[in-house]
Structures are given as C-alpha cells and as structure tokens.
C-alpha cells in the first residue's frame, strides 16, 4: 500500500476521493430528504455544456463546468415549483447537446468523452486537489452556519415561511451548494455517475440511523470507504475508477440492506 501511495497521482486521487466523500456527506442527506435528486441530475448534466465550451475555448474544462452548473442553479432556484420538473429536464438535455456540439467542433484530437462522462479520479492533478479543497470549504462552511435554516426548509417549508425565515434564499443557497458539490464530484466519478455518489452513502447511512446529524457523519464514513475501495479495485484490476467506485457502493448497499432484512426476518421468526 505504501508503494502505491508514493505515486503522486495516487496521492491526488486518494485526497480528492476523501474530500469528495466529505462533501457528499454534508450535502447528500439534504438532497435525499428534500427530494432534490432530479435537480442534482439536471445540474450535473448541464455541466457537460460548460465542459464542451471550455474545451473548445481551450481553457480548463472544470471552469466551464462550474460556470454552467452555477448558471443552471440560478435558473432552477428561480423556477416555480409547478414547472420546475419540466425545465430541469430541458436544461438536462440542452446542456448535454451543447457539450456534444462544442466537443465536435473542437479541431484536432477530440478528447475522450468517456473521461467527462464517467470521470477519472486517477487523472486528478495537484491543482485539482487544491480546487477540491477550496470547494470543500465553500460547501461545508455554509452548512455549518445555516444548518438550522436548511433543516427548517427541508422539514417544513410552509412553517419556515410562517416563522419569517428567508425561505427563498435558503432554498437557493442549498441549490448552489448542490451545484458546487457536483463540480467536485464530476472529477471523481463523472457527470453520469454523480447522482450515485450523492445518494448511495446516504442510503447506507439511513439504514443505520434516523438522526440527521448522524446520517451526515455516517455518509462521510461510507463515502470514504466506497471511494477508497473503488479506487484500489480500479488500480489493481485496471478497471475504470468512477464505475468501480459506484459498483462498490451499490454492492455495499445491497449487502447491508440484505443483512438487515435477514436479521429482522430472524427476529420475527424466533
């Protein structure tokens, strides 16, 4: 293990994976309980448009993705609830279409689409590690500061309004935090698999606790376990890293759900 970790690319991958898991653990429980999974899918796919344009312009793709995701967050946060599903779906598809067109138009060697779509954490550079560290603070600090407000709008928006809380701003803030998390996660598992990393650790944690803060903590722990074991799997078996991470997560969730069912079955039969 010491050997592997002496490679700089592996250090970067491990650090990015751990930080991404911490971000997931903070924001994932809000996404799951507030039913923002579809919003998250829309945001991450819109990022593809930004990636494509950035690539065409010759700047760092991550910057383009960040700009697009934040723009999409601004739009989604201002949509009326009745029509939000419709427009999130449209943003989702249009984002991908823009990305495909610009990558197609980029002269010369076309980059490996797979890297954008499925991520490659093993390609994370020192700069990426630093950017992820900044994003980690940008996501977790507001959650510490606005925790009570976010819980209020996730639990009972109408009541939060009656208490005169700035509900619209809190909802918008939460969407922006989801957007920033997605930017980080795209590097790790890619656009298509982002949703899994935001939800699987929370689903596992939810099997073990019904306390929101504990769910956050457990999500971080399981996120790290999943990321690091997926990373080792991909290194030793030479498999794509993003997909390995998600598969490990899926298997762990199935295992825990199965074990829980079995033990409760045993309890009822004895």
């Amino acid at each position: 293990m010491e050997n592997i970790l002496s490679y700089e690319f592996m250090q970067n991958a491990v650090l990015t994976g751990i930080m991404a898991s911490v971000i997931c653990g903070f924001i994932g429980p809000f996404i799951v309980t507030k039913r923002m999974v579809f919003i998250s899918g829309g945001l991450s796919h819109t990022a593809f448009g930004g990636l494509g344009i950035a690539y065409w312009l010759g700047v760092k793709p991550l910057y383009g993705a960040t700009a697009f995701v934040l723009l999409a967050a601004g739009i989604i946060g201002n949509l009326e609830e009745k029509i939000s599903d419709l427009f999130i779906g449209i943003l989702w598809a249009v984002g991908v279409a823009v990305g495909i067109i610009f990558i197609h138009m980029t002269p010369g060697y076309t980059p490996d689409l797979m890297t954008f779509l499925f991520g490659n954490i093993l390609m994370a550079s020192r700069t990426d590690v630093i950017i992820t560290l900044i994003l980690l603070f940008l996501v977790t600090l507001p959650i510490f500061i606005f925790y009570k407000g976010f819980v209020s709008v996730a639990l009972d928006e109408e009541y939060a309004r009656a208490r005169q809380l700035p509900v619209k701003a809190l909802n918008m803030g939460l969407i922006v935090l989801v957007a920033l998390s997605i930017v980080t996660l795209i590097q790790v598992v890619g656009i298509i698999l982002v949703i899994a990393l935001l939800t699987i650790p929370v689903a596992i944690a939810g099997e073990m606790s019904m306390n929101f803060k504990r769910i956050m903590l457990l999500s971080i722990v399981f996120g790290i376990v999943i990321c690091l074991s997926g990373l080792s799997l991909s290194y030793f078996l030479e498999l794509p890293s993003g997909a390995s991470i998600i598969l490990i997560g899926g298997m762990l969730l199935t295992l825990i759900k199965g074990a829980k069912k079995l033990s409760s079955h045993r309890k009822t039969t004895v």
């Binding site: 407000g149 209020s152 639990l155 309004r161 009656a162 208490r163 809380l165 306390n211």
Partner: protein, 245 residues
C-alpha cells in the same frame, strides 16, 4: 373584549383566480373562533394571510401589539416532510427558530422550554422518537408543541382534528380549552361538530365570509356557504351540524 386581529376588505387569489373576496373579520383577544367552509373555500388561505406567509391583493390585516414571532401556527397534519428524519424534541425546537436566531445554536433555555412543553402534552417519554413513527394524535400534539414554544399570543390551527382518533380528539379539545384561557385560538375545520361546546364565534368562508356569534348560525347561511342543504339540529347546546346528501 378588545379587537386583536383586524382583517379589512381582504382579497387574494392564486394566479388570476380569486380565492377569497372582500373578507372582513375582527378577532378578539382570547376569542375561540371557528373558521368553517367547504374545501377550496379559502380557509387555509385566510390563515396564511394572517400569518403573513402570503400578502393580500387588496385590503389590510392588522395585528395589534408587537407579536413578532408570536403567532403560533399548527399547519395541516400532512404538510411537513415525513421523509426528513427528526425526533419529536428537535421538531418542537424548530418552533423557536426566527430570523434573529437562525444562525445561532439552540440555547439552554430553548431546550428546557421544549422539554417542558412536551411534558405538558404528555409526550415527554417519546421525545427522542422519530416523528414519523408516532401516532396521528401524537404527531398533532408535536405540531401544537412546536407552535407553543414561541409563547404565542394566538394559536392558528388548520384542521387539527383530521386524521386523529376519538380519544385523541377529546384530549386535544380539553387541551385547547385550557390554552384558550391564555390565548386566542382560531381553528380552521370542515367539521365543526367537535368544537360546538367550546367556540365563541364562527365564521363561514366560501370566497366571502359570514360572521356569527355563538348560537346564531342558521341553516340558510350554511346552505348558502356550502352550496347544498345543511341540517342543523339545535337543541340548545351542543349543536350538531350535519350535511344531507
């Protein structure tokens, strides 16, 4: 008795469709007001207007005195997100959140108040249980406790007797009666029967509002408001109001 909430000529609607029109209503201090009417008649909308969640198209709503943060709201039973894991105690604590303190942690005082109020509604032993695992009557009590922790001067309840059983209904009514000694109570309901002993005023709302003293409510008005014949069996008190279909 003094006017406490003055609603004057208020109209409001969603998109272009008016839900309530030219509603005027005075609520007195320590009043027990029943707000009845058919579904879609605007009862919940009027509550939200009083709470300031929505602003009227026209007209005014005045609440006398400084009541900032002291309007106790008990929304409809099913309105909160059951998907969110939270204990009864934590849920009650969210009732003290205000724009002034939502960035700070809960104080020791808040915690003590929450425990005390849960004691009052006989739910202290359930305080660490997840709200969604409680019974209908218990959830209703948690919602009321959440409203009470802000020491409200008025308690606005939206369909508090829906989805709870008879025993819980009786204990809820006793509890509301006791609270009425100290605060104004406004109950929105489509089923006024359980409250016939306790209410002081009744207002029927179906886009327009009709206000009555106790005992004055007559069948013609109800028929007009509900848009169907309504039978009133009035052998003194209690009144029973039945729909004929």
């Amino acid at each position: 008795m003094e006017h406490f909430i003055e609603i004057t000529d208020v109209s409001f609607g969603y998109e272009d469709i008016p839900v309530i029109e030219n509603v005027s209503l005075d609520i007195f201090e320590r009043d027990f007001l029943l707000l009845i009417g058919p579904n879609g008649g605007g009862k919940t909308t009027l509550l939200k207007l009083i709470l300031g969640i929505i602003k009227p198209w026209s007209g005014s709503i005045r609440i006398l005195g400084d009541v900032t943060g002291r309007l106790g709201y008990v929304p409809q039973f099913a309105s909160f997100n059951r998907n969110f894991p939270i204990s009864a105690l934590e849920m009650v604590l969210t009732g003290c959140i205000s724009p002034q303190n939502f960035l700070k942690r809960y104080t020791k005082d808040d915690m003590e108040k929450a425990e005390m109020i849960l004691e009052k509604v006989n739910l202290h032993d359930k305080r660490h249980e997840n709200v969604k695992d409680l019974s209908g009557g218990q959830i209703q009590k948690v919602l009321i406790a959440r409203a009470l922790i802000s020491e409200p001067v008025v308690l606005l309840l939206d369909e508090p007797t829906a989805s709870i059983d008879i025993t819980s209904k009786t204990s809820l009514l006793d509890f509301l009666n006791k609270l009425n000694e100290k605060m104004t109570i406004v109950v929105v309901t489509h089923d006024p029967t359980p409250f016939t002993l306790t209410y002081r005023h009744i207002a029927c709302l179906n886009k327009n509002l009709y206000f009555h003293e106790k005992g004055e409510l007559d069948a013609h008005i109800l028929e007009y408001v509900y848009g169907c014949p309504v039978e009133l069996l009035g052998h003194g008190i209690p009144h029973t109001i039945l729909k004929k279909h």
